[in-house]
Symmetry: D2
Subunit: 407 residues, 4 copies
């Protein structure tokens, strides 16, 4: 009788290599699946290692461009910051990875999907919820969590099963990264009073080491999509990488956040998102110029909901589809160029222009030749303040009546 198959989200590291062995020992045929969302992994090497440690198939997928266009872009256009600070780095890649795992599982006739998340983070909830939403019939395996494997147990299990154990000292940090940024937790960071040490960062220079001359970038947007830097066209994934480089050099995009996890505890996270920070600020700046006041004042409600919906692993839901429909419609007039100065950790939008600009010099200027009908202001103010006037009159009437009573 043929064995059941399981698709494992494989990174090439110790945890998931041990999982290959464990799943195999548990009676599965294991298909290792490594999905690159912008870590710029050595996919060839990982593919080989997967087979080497026991997988019957080892699949690698470069999903960077799909990640940029289908996942990151929504977050950018929605100015998605969870709790006003975290630009949703890992939370953004999870639904894509889940989708790819399900696709591979269906392709190979697998009945289960495995991941290597711990039992106290967001990722276990995200992987399992997103997989359930796409393929509720799939079993889910998470041996690391469910077998309570400690680091020491993993190393012992690796040795028993002929899995190479890394000889370098284990990093004190737990890191996840992709195109949109890099997330870091654990170690010394677990004391929220302690300054994050310099070795917690990788994509950004310390301010002390940034160049003493700024870079200037002109970012062109078409319908809310960044399409060019300094006039040169880029695919979105490449554009983000390019900005990661230049903004990282200037120390842009470090975030130190005590955040509320999905599972109800607070954790302290260090994020780096240099390119994201630049694009998010520039996009907002262009919207300030091109978006009507009523839309600009309501969109933040949608944005907050989008950030929380992504964080909470509800990407593949009718709610999220509806939120995305709102955002897509809202971007039609977000066309133009923003000139950004990158310097000493700062993203400074110095100028913005657009054919869809709703800024009217004729209306805004204070010169005598202006188009604005100042006469209208008096009428406007009269009706605008009318509810306040009526309310104040009623209050005065009541106060007067009370005075009478007191006398």
């Amino acid at each position: 009788m043929s064995k059941e198959k399981v698709v494992l989200a494989y990174s090439g590291g110790l945890d998931t290599s041990v999982e290959i062995a464990w799943l195999k020992n548990a009676g599965y045929d294991v298909i290792a699946c490594c999905i690159d969302v912008g870590e710029e992994k050595d996919l060839v090497k990982i593919q080989e290692k997967g087979k080497q440690v026991g997988a019957i198939e080892s699949v690698v997928i470069d999903a960077q461009q799909e990640f940029a266009e289908e996942y990151v872009l929504v977050a950018l256009q929605a100015h998605a910051y969870y709790e006003g600070k975290y630009p949703l780095i890992s939370a953004l890649s999870r639904p894509l990875i889940a989708k790819k795992l399900v696709e591979v599982a269906k392709q190979y006739g697998a009945t289960a999907i495995a991941h290597g998340c711990t039992g106290k983070g967001n990722d276990q909830v995200r992987f399992e919820t997103e997989i359930h939403a796409l393929a509720p019939e799939m079993k889910i395996e998470d041996p690391i969590r469910d077998q309570h494997m400690s680091r020491e147990m993993e190393i012992a299990y690796a040795k028993e099963n002929g899995i190479p154990v890394p000889i370098t000292k284990e990093s004190p940090y737990s890191i996840d990264e992709n195109l949109w940024g890099r997330a870091n937790e654990c170690g010394v960071l677990e004391d929220p009073w302690a300054t994050a040490p310099e070795d917690a960062y990788e994509r950004t220079n310390a301010l002390e080491n940034t160049p003493d001359a700024p870079d200037y970038v002109e970012i062109t947007f078409e319908q809310g999509v960044p399409v060019a830097l300094n006039g040169q066209a880029y695919e979105l994934a490449e554009l983000i990488k390019e900005l990661n480089q230049v903004a990282g050099k200037h120390g842009i995009g470090r975030i130190d956040h005590v955040e509320n996890r999905l599972i109800g505890i607070k954790s302290r996270e260090i994020y780096e998102a240099p390119g994201a920070e630049v694009l998010l600020k520039a996009h907002k700046d262009l919207e300030d110029l091109t978006t009507t006041k009523d839309l600009a004042h309501f969109k933040p409600i949608i944005e907050k909901q989008i950030a929380e919906t992504i964080y909470n692993a509800l990407w593949y839901t009718p709610l999220f589809d509806s939120l995305k429909a709102f955002i897509a419609e809202s971007q039609k007039e977000v066309n133009g160029v923003v000139r950004v100065k990158l310097f000493k950790g700062n993203v400074i939008c110095e100028g913005r222009q657009s054919d869809n600009s709703l800024y009217s010099l004729d209306l805004a200027t204070y010169t005598s030749a202006d188009a604005f009908d100042q006469e209208s202001a008096a009428g406007f103010i009269k009706l605008y303040s009318l509810p306040s006037v009526v309310h104040a009159q009623v209050q005065q009437k009541l106060a007067a009546a009370e005075q009478l009573v007191l006398k």
Copy 2:
């Protein structure tokens, strides 16, 4: 018969000095009233000038501490940024000034209040709406707007009426400032593509001229009120001023904003709010540590409404009272210290501690000795993803039925 009295919001400048003359010529006894909300005006000189150019009384009021405690504090605790960018500088002082003008008017038996706003800005709406809300019976005079006085007309009128005309060249900018910041519009700023020139700024150094060594400040909050810097107690107004100095030196708090005015047009504004920027970031950082997730996730809805309500001149309304009651209650546990690094335009919250900290190392850590019950996670995920599972099952059932029909 005695004349009617008018209280004029008096700044000592040409506009409002001309208004004294105009109101006097229109038959009023003028009471000039100058209110200091943190411009650190020479009140003695302004008081003298008011009388000199024709006021029968000249009143000066130092309202800085009241401004800090009753107005700025609400904005701080509500993280109030209009359109995500503007920390409500002028918008915050208007209700206080309106209140003081009404108080003076009642004290002197005046029947009218005068101001000198132009006919296309927010301030005319704000002054008039806030005055109406407090004293709907007051007449409002605005000769500059209603007489369509240009600069040239003002100078001519000043000369006719013995008012000294400033000999310095007029600033190209229109500026308003107080404790919480400085607002600048007009001139070259009216081209949103143009970089704001260095002379548009006064409270902040250009990044190029900031010190090469950071300053560190420990800010202590009690129930959401900043009460000490580096362990030294301060009155709130003084604390803000102190931070304006040190943060301004580091080039912190420059804001370049294309914003939607109350009266329906876009304008481009340059703000400087160094102390505000530090306090707003530090306060949010402490809330991240001390506030429960459910409150932290709902408070932004209140914050957005507070920012818009202040911007829209609705301070003296039952809505605003209700919003303030929410905020006051939300601050009870916002106690602790935030350590902030000020450097090269950046406000970096490096550490935070609090007796009310809800961060639990025992829960957050990934070490084996942790208190978190990882077993619970599986049950949680099962119920958490249940709606997604049911939805997916229904979709699959419908898809299968459709397949059957197609066959």
Copy 3:
């Protein structure tokens, strides 16, 4: 030289007939334009009268089906009740009428559009704002408001200009109606303590006169669109009319609302919307069955914004387009049938069924054979209540410390 042309929103009544004369006397060629949105007007008669009283052209348009499909449907799917009570009757027709007026104006080369609204209602704001949004170059004429014409003046002007004056006594009410309902204000209704008299109603029976046996209707929805009654297919406009009949007979849909007008005053309005009431309740009932919890809990935010956006005359805005995109997406799974009992003023949704039903008997039942994993509940509750536990522990620790200090 040829005259300028003006398109007048023409009703056939005294007000707008007088306006034809006034506009003609002011030098315009007048094109009378009557748009039927469900009042079931005698269009032939109105067309004739338009010409008879001086219009050079008289255009009539039956816009009922377009009104139902493009305007009413959005309000239905968004459960749009302004201030929780008013189902947006007149507010819904204004953007359609404005669009038709602009189309006719462009067709005839007119440079102006005229309407007959008074100076204190919502309608003047709505017509002018919606017309501006579609054709900002159009002049707008409103002689009734701008000439301050009283009823007596209108009658005199009519006699001078050969316009027939109605001999019947003027109604004490000001009424507007369409497919979706009937709005009534003025007269005795202006005392909010007074019971609305029976003659204020036209589409609904008094409860005292309703039948003593109920009617039952099964309403079928496809993607949120009501498509059939008791299994019989209907065009939307006809379906609404049919429900107006049957629900009106049972006294359903009377609304007595003290509402906040756009222009800042309160007014008391009597509405009748029998069909609307039935459809709104049935549609919500079906959504309760077919919509996921997360979408069901966020959609009301969109609904409230849609109601206010329509009320505030912002139909032709990018905000409204974005809101509509959300709603359209949200309706994909709103398929099924609702069985409604209509009786004595009540709309009672007694049963609902759908292929998209997310109600799962297996999960919801309390019998022993149920599919729900009760074990998971404990884990869920543990994580769900974790923030409350941590908060309580911190509070207890602080209370204990305070006790120590007090001792």
Copy 4:
């Protein structure tokens, strides 16, 4: 050594009587605690039975007035309907019961609290979360859920332990009730297409059996609190009971709701809340008269959050305290009388009056003597529609440019 003590939420029924035995057998001294929130239980009898079946102490608490004033009132003033339909009957009593259980536990030195909820409803989450929030150190016992006791097992266990077994046939329904209403689920109700049978209702007459003459009630509110009926003062609990009687007689307050439970499944519930329905409608009606537009338009956001926060068992949280502070402040001007007609299932607010009325006949009337400045309307409309005008002009410019390109 003395035994540990447990406080059990005791109803006198089979489930909780069996739990007394089970807890005793498990080594606890059991304190039975029965809390009356308006079921009008025979407290003496329940107290006796508690001791009789094995409790060492049996405590009964009449908490009706506290329930009305501290819990129901918040829901009333917040117009709290979960998912727009359910007026939070059981959800409202749970935090009060949890608080009383904790008080009794502390008084008797108990270390555990027990309840008898099943494993798939909201109540287990509510009891445990609210108890945790007040006393995180308490153990929680739920033998029915945790021992998977079926009805049959309970009866067997009762017989073994000398507990009287009711001889009447078990009700097909699962019912919970209090002052504010009655909730009913299970049985035939589990088919959402089935009409709820008449025996599912107890507090309300079928419409077919209601009186043919209406009752009229004038309800007086002071600061949002209902204080009198037809001019006669009532304690709140009594006032609600009185309205339950009269409104129930007229068939008011039946609710048939397919709702989303906290734990992620849909269930179908039948509620009866006659008094609640009357008070909620009357209170909203009075707010329509006395509350300013800006507050009236924002309060629903708070209301929705309050409904969900109560439903989700987060009563004892800083979020809920902040929400309550908002509501308390918002009620200061909600004074006056509403005249309500109760008839055939309908609550009809026919008239409302208040010293705080913001309805101004002078402003609202269309008569010529009105106070409204119609001139201001033109200025208002001009500024109000300015953003639409600018947007339309930009669109036209772009369309024209595109035309040129196409040629």
